[in-house]
């Protein structure tokens, strides 16, 4: 039984006469890592700002564990930890002073919890330095620490791997997965780095020009997607191979050098090879690649246009 953590109901935002967000509706479940992707200017950050009450909602609603961010702000936001855009901190205070500052704003956060959070993001060594001297990666970690202080049910991170080195990215990714599976936190991550999203998320929502154009499970194995398997095959004599594929399997083949590229269902590959062997065609290699998220992404959004 999945529990809904956040629900967007026909969310709209109009600034002046321009409709920035044109009716977003989707839900995010507890224990799920949801990737929110789209080209620049698609409305990701605007949507996140409305989720956390920084921007007023023109129409529709955001419900957090059933509480409307509009009508019941305090109850709704209590369950949310977030970084919106860059992780900005008070530069004249140390990392720890920054965390103490935000801890004072929510009852029930003790010193122990603060130390715990510092350990989680790995800032023990620099926590007593001024935040103004932090690198972007360190600030990102401090930002995440700040968002985790009050054990939120929903964690919203805007471009969380920005400025982190590869090791840091892997660490954060690992931690986000852990939060979702072990503590049943719903994590919402916005990004334009598709490969990152793919590795971290269970599900992605693709937004373009203020509209949600698709939501998709990352490890999607529904029959629909089997078609997307792409086969690369090297065989000689190549012309005979093309003919066989056309006549026996009705597959259109593209020839690239001495390689054949075609789309087909994964299951027929063994049959194809058997047929080739029967006709004494030498098969040197067969490659199967799943269409990547990136291909899907560009399929869905068309070209990268900003209106």
């Amino acid at each position: 039984m999945t529990e809904v953590a956040m629900e967007l109901i026909d969310l709209k935002k109009t600034i002046g006469k321009k409709e920035i967000i044109k009716g977003l509706s989707f839900t995010i479940n507890r224990g799920e890592v949801f990737g929110f992707i789209g080209p620049n200017g698609a409305g990701k950050t605007t949507t996140i700002r409305m989720m956390v009450g920084l921007m007023s909602i023109t129409d529709g609603d955001v419900r957090i564990l059933g509480n409307s961010i509009k009508q019941n702000f305090k109850k709704a936001i209590r369950e949310v930890g977030a970084i919106v855009e860059n992780p900005e901190m008070y530069p004249f205070m140390t990392g720890r002073q920054n965390l103490l500052h935000f801890a004072r704003m929510i009852p029930g956060i003790d010193k122990e919890r603060i130390n715990e959070v510092i350990a989680v993001v790995g800032l023990e060594k620099v926590i007593n330095q001024k935040a103004g001297k932090y690198s972007l990666g360190m600030r990102q970690r401090l930002g995440i620490a700040q968002a985790l202080l009050h054990k939120p049910s929903i964690l919203i991170l805007d471009e969380p791997t920005n400025g982190l080195d590869p090791a840091g990215i892997r660490e954060i990714r690992h931690y986000i997965r852990k939060l979702a599976t072990e503590e049943n936190v719903a994590v919402i991550i916005s990004s334009h780095l598709l490969s990152e999203i793919e590795l971290m998320c269970d599900r992605i929502g693709i937004i373009k020009n203020g509209e949600l154009i698709a939501t998709q499970l990352v490890n999607d194995t529904t029959p629909d997607n089997i078609n997307l398997t792409q086969v690369t095959l090297e065989a000689t004599p190549i012309n005979q191979a093309i003919d066989l594929l056309k006549t026996n399997y009705e597959i259109d083949v593209v020839q690239e050098g001495n390689q054949l590229i075609f789309q087909s269902e994964k299951e027929i590959i063994p049959n194809v090879i058997k047929t080739f062997v029967k006709h004494e065609i030498a098969v040197y290699q067969v490659g199967v690649s799943k269409a990547t998220l990136e291909d899907k992404f560009f399929d869905l959004i068309g070209e990268n246009t900003i209106e």
């Binding site: 950050t45 956390v52 007023s56 936001i77 205070m93 004072r104």
Partner: protein
Amino acid sequence: MSNFFQLVYNELNKIYIRKSTWAMYGILAALIIGGAILTNSFEDLDKYENDNWREVLQEENAALEQEIAEYESDDFILEINTSEIEKNNYHIENDIQPQYGAWQYVLENAGLLSIVSLLTIIIAAGIVANEFRWGTIKLLLIRPITRTKILASKYVSVLIFALFTLLFVLIFSLIVGALFFGLEGMNPPIVIEQGAGFADVSAISHILSEYGYGMVNLIMMTTFAFMISTVFRNSSLAIGTAIFLMMAGNTIVSIFMEKPWAKYILFANTDLSQYASGGEPWVEGTSLGFSIIVLIVYFIIFQLLSWFFFNKRDVAGN
């Protein structure tokens, strides 16, 4: 409610953790010490402190009268010197020996109130605008606290800063005054001019009333700076306009003195001490009650504007 104290604690912490705030106190301390050194070296402070102080005063009076005779046509000198003579006479008639000491020095430093106003304006101008500049406003507003409460905590913190700074001026002046000039007693009488001539009052009550009247202007200009800071999210603009108005306030009133609406100008009403001396008010049609009502109306307008803009605003990127 304890939550609100935590918010105020946070705000004060952010004010006092910065070195620039301590630099402000450094400047105040330098002014107070510097003032004491100047007073000490240029004025003959001991001249009354012997048994013939009555004669010293009489000699002074004679000199003042001679000056009046010399500059016959000068009304300014006539006024000043006459007042000085009357004061000296009051000392002689009531047998109050003039003294110069710490209390007197504290009283003279009431002029520093304008510096305190200036510093408080700088703090008020930054307290909201800086959060926007640092980008930390986003982290403040995504807590289970209403925007009204956050704004209120910031305003209260500004007032507490003003109070601390004022206390610093009072206490530090008293200490420096005591070190340089000695203490005249725990609460010595001070001779001041009141509506019906001179009178002696207790030093502490007079100091409190002097500083108290000054607080009116301080609070109004601080609230104004706070409003500009909140509405325009720009601390320089807030500092600039508030200081300009503080300096030019009286001139503005003078320019529009003849207009029937002059009495509604804020600065026509900020000096409440004018009603205590019992004379004609500065601007026609004002009275203590009238001024208090005008001040309250301005105060409410400033607060409402701050509150409205802070609550309404979409917090977008910079």
